[in-house]
């Protein structure tokens, strides 16, 4: 007990000298993990839940197609729309979009292009199917149905 009493007189300050180092460490972690958002998403995106998720092996091969109800309903209406890059497109534009994305890749990688379909849960399958038909037409057959890990099971 006497030991405790002795120490009570000394100051109880936590040394803050290492604080900048700790903060820097956190900073570097976030700097490394940050992926700047490339697209400004104009449609609602609540992804479906699934359990059998696979990771994309090569990020550079992936292009994104967003489907969902527009956020700005006064401008785009309430029907689900397709978004590629930063703009709303119709199904006919998808082949062109795929070809543009393929041009960015090297010759050997072109067949391995993966289309990540980010589809809102409220979308009906009809429009998804239309997009898939266009993807088949454009010969971009690898499709990833982007979804989040389900907590059940």
């Amino acid at each position: 007990m006497s030991k405790f009493k002795k120490s009570s007189g000394t100051s109880q300050d936590i040394p803050t000298a290492a604080l900048p180092d700790i903060i820097f460490m956190l900073l570097f972690f976030f700097m490394v993990t940050t992926v700047m958002r490339e697209d400004d998403i104009l449609v609602k995106q609540q992804l479906p839940k699934a359990t059998q998720l696979t990771k994309i092996e090569k990020k550079s091969l992936v292009s994104y197609i967003y489907l969902g109800e527009p956020k700005n309903t006064s401008l785009f209406g309430v029907e689900p729309r397709i978004q590629t890059n930063d703009v709303m497109v119709t199904t006919e534009d998808i082949i062109q979009f795929v070809n543009q994305e393929k041009d960015k890749l090297s010759e050997v990688e072109r067949d391995q292009i993966t289309m990540s379909m980010k589809v809102d849960v409220d979308v009906k399958f009809g429009i998804v199917s239309d997009v898939q038909q266009e993807l088949r037409e454009a010969n971009a057959r690898r499709v990833l149905y982007s979804s989040v890990k389900s907590t059940e099971e």
Binding site: L27, F30, T33, P48, Q52, L53, T54, V123, F125
Partner: protein, 210 residues
Amino acid sequence: MPRGKKRAIPEVSSGSMADIAFLLLIFFLVTTTIANDKGIMMLLPPKVDPNEPPPDITKNDRNIYKILANSNDDLLVEGEPYTSSMRELKEDVKKFILNFGKPTEEGIELYSSLPPSMKSFINTKGRRDDSSDDPTECVVSFKAGRGTSYELYIEVLNAITAAYNEIYAERVGITVDEWLALDRSDDIQKDMYERGRQNIPKAISIAEPD
């Protein structure tokens, strides 16, 4: 002043260092979106050549597991309305794939390559004549209507994929999560991946809606 002599020591004040770092930290915290590029992988069929007639379906009807979804999100599985959970659908698909009704030579070869736990499963449940001939022959067909919700579509697709993945994982003796995490750029893991999938093709057919 404790000291008599006062010398200017050239020193950058580091007191605000933490604040600066904090500011940067908060900036990156706000802009960070942890990449969640995960999902269910599918390979679409090649496009139809207009000059060629669509190929005739020579598959025996019992080798096709038919799942239909209508616009009201009702399921019809093998001609029967389906109300059970997705977990049961997964088990049913698994039973269908692992059925050895009338195995071909390839099927018998496949059977002998399976681990004992799967063999006993097949011997108790997988000898039905009215179900698929063997895993090399069977196809799971899923047809959704235009009005089917995407949520249901993914749920069913997830169940079918889960059935296949469980078979593959059990075959090489790992858990499903380990199977999904296999890195195909690594030779050992790639070999495992190929051993799991050998002779059991992931034949999922997504039919176009009417």
